[in-house]
Amino acid sequence: MSQHLIIIAAVAYLILLFAVAYLVEHTGGRVSRLTGSSLVYTLSLAVYCSSWTFNGGVGRASQSGLDFLPIYLGPTLAFCLGPIVIRRMLKISHAHRITSIADLIGARFGKSGGLAALVTIIAVIGLVPYIALQLKSISSGFAVLSASGEAADVGTKPVLTDGALWSAIVLTVFAMLFGSRSIHPREHHPGMVVAVALESILKLISLTAIGLFIGYGLFNGFGDLFSKAAAIPDIRSIFAHSPDRYGYNWIAMTLLAMVAVFCLPRQFQIMVVENVDERHLNRALWLFPLYLLAINLFVLPIAIAGRMMLPTDTDPDNLVLAVPLASGYPIVALIAFLGGLSAAASMVVVETTALSLMVCNDVVMPALLRVKALGLERKADLTSLLLWVRRLVMIGVMGLGYLYMRHDSAQFALVSIGLMSFVAVAQFAPAIIGGLFWRGATKAGAFAGISTGFLVWVYTLLFPSFARSGALTMDFIAHGPFGIALLKPYALFGLQGLDPVTHSTFWSLIANVGCFVGVSLAGRQSPVERAHAAMFVEAVHPGDAAQIWRRTALIPDLMSLASRFLGREKAASAYAEWAAKRGLDARTVVQADTQTVLFYERLLAGVIGAASARVLVDAIVEEEPLGVDEIMRILDETSRVIEANRQLEEKSRALEAATAELKEANDRLQLLDRLKDDFVATVNHELRTPLSSIRAFSEILRDHPDLTLGERHEFLRIVITESERLTRLINQLLDLSKIEASGTVPRADVPVDLATIARESAAALDQVFATNGVALHLEIETPSALVLGDHDRLVQVLINLLGNAAKFALPGSGHAHLTLSRTGNTFELAVGDNGPGIRQKDRKVVFERFRQLGDTMNDKPHGAGLGLAISQRIVMQHGGRIWIEESRFGGALFKVSLPCAPSKGRRAKAKALQNAAVS
């Protein structure tokens, strides 16, 4: 196939991709909404499948069967833990506007610029081989396709005719167009995302098409392919049953792939930074593994077919192209080439974009900002500087990749190079996972862990790769430095039997985790570090922790700072949005509070990274640095204020309750006071009335000796009656005071028969009823009604009630009734009459002392008003109650209920119990 055709196809394809990206970013409507879909998010995550997958996977499969698969099983397993790990990474990164993996680690450990720079440098060094891999894959693919026949020695051709150089240049331009055209406050590149998603579709279609072409075009289905393969002993042995075929290497690769899927800068870029909606993750968690499965489905058949059809000296990494080419279908080979190009291009674009962000934000800008001579702090607009730094970084990274490829990678298979990079980025995993879930992780620990792990990686993987390419002597690998066998880079401390990658994974991660945990445990956290740890581990919103730093600044200062990096318009609109959200008036507020300062810092962090943003904002902010004591004091004060507030509330509630009680008591006292006055007045009146009449009649008897005998007798009878009334009154008063003073009456605790009492009382008042012309009906429904109590007192109650009935029944035609009945365990006595009755509102008050109904001024009182009060107290002391109802004759109906006496046995028991209790 002619070179021109291939070049035209490749360039046309790249231009098509760019057109799509341009459309997404510059036209509204349906195209630009593509980024808001979980499907596009998932497909863009498939940037994970670089040309390593496309060409390297097949190469690996043709050599050793299925052990290319851990690289995809690892991410599948990692995504099972996605709801815990990835979700937290997303949340925290969005809250803090984190834009790269270096930013994340730096921000977690106290916005440490040094740590972020270390991570960045490791990422660049670790990923250069990976980028070289893509270049190598493209150029060797190009070589195979253009039938130059020199595929195996791409690294040896003159520079200018080297396809890899041109592909490097084209890809760099492409990356600059996508990744560094403008500054966006969140570093979103929607065009790039959609283009990557499109490339993911293309590489899947391409690999599937080749798989189907081989399965059904060259063979009669996959069953045929596999059975033919089984006839070849070499291949059969790969699938034969073997108890120890896969061991530590398989496990190590799974582990590496698990952590790489979120530690690789390009994965972080797509998964976290370019994520526009956290809910997309939910679907991606299963859809992305499905994509991985789909793209790997035909890798093994293609590899086996290649192994059977091609001479054994073919470069295994070019099988995908070589099979269709060898079977005479150059068009299929071209599709395969474009698929591989897709895979490589998307990986290179996203990786260099992510790396350029990291280098620019975490290494170059902090350094430039510290050089006072440049005067960057006074420059009005730094956006173009930022962009150019990023573009230069992209060129630099690409250049390094190209150099590495030319000098070192020729001898390696794609998969080995890729795995080397995986081990390098895996060094970030302990710090990230520890940082997100372990409060005690310290900055020193992270520093020690990452740097130790990286040094071990350099020693056990990177140096030997130089040695194998001739930059160092092979003695270094074979005998160790200076002939020290214990330090052989592929068998450190005598650890043998592992392949170099597994060996390096083991030692570097052991050293990394050991130093990270050990130093963290041994050291102490600064207060600021502790605050950051709390923010990350407990996913506290940064605003809530803002009060740890008391920082103020002038809004115009912050504004001009932000516009230098974002451009005036974007800075102004971002602030306006913020001000509206917080209800600030953007035109009048001049002093920025802590929250606003934090907002600006995060806004800047989105562009230039957390560490640089911290440095810049600190320069214009008046900060009151807080020591441990002060932070503790703030926390303490806060909790004390809260506690005091709570106590105050409690007290005021108690006070309210007490006030209400007092008011009630006061009302009751006032009532009692009035009643006492009334009582005294009434007693005075009641005692005076009989006394005065006694005195009057006595004087008449003394002064008029001429009175007739009948008159004398009459007057003396009155004197005696009045004296009796007086005596009765005094007795009642004594009774009442006795009852009220002691609360009890001497009560004979013996069974008495209410029926007998009723009959006695009725008989006692026979004369009174007869005198008043009132007929009394006695209805006793139970033969005997035993209650425990005092016979005389109960008689007193009944006489009082009957007396009232006699008094108030209609004179002349009056009738009254006394009934005794039993309901359940109580006896009920009812005394009714046909008198005027008692109004509803008076039915309670008649039981108060001296409470006489009617107008006391006009009516002559019918009694002392003590009878009912005494009756009520007696009934209550017998465990019963007294109340008033409407009589069926219109008058009052007094009801008394008393509990039945327990049966003989029970009574004895109760008595015994009582005695026991007393003694």
Partner: protein
């Protein structure tokens, strides 16, 4: 709707099952061919697709409700 913690726990369970089934020594128990196809190839892809199906079932259950809920996570 499936509560988030329940879903998380089930995914962790899925991870444990996957880690066990995809790694030696269990992996080394499979070998030879089934109907002319390599048994390990069928085993891995079979377990893989089952794992993804289970994950999809767990994650998509009740996720419609979640879609409609206002986004509280980003203030």
């Amino acid at each position: 709707m499936l509560r988030r913690t329940v879903r998380r726990d089930r995914m962790v369970g899925l991870f444990a099952a996957g880690a066990l089934l995809f790694n030696p020594p269990i992996l080394n128990l499979i070998g030879g061919t089934v109907f002319g196809w390599p048994a390990l190839y069928l085993y891995i892809f079979g377990v893989w697709i089952a794992l993804i199906a289970a994950a999809a079932f767990i994650l998509e259950q009740g996720s419609d409700n979640e879609e409609r809920r206002p986004d509280e996570t980003r203030r």
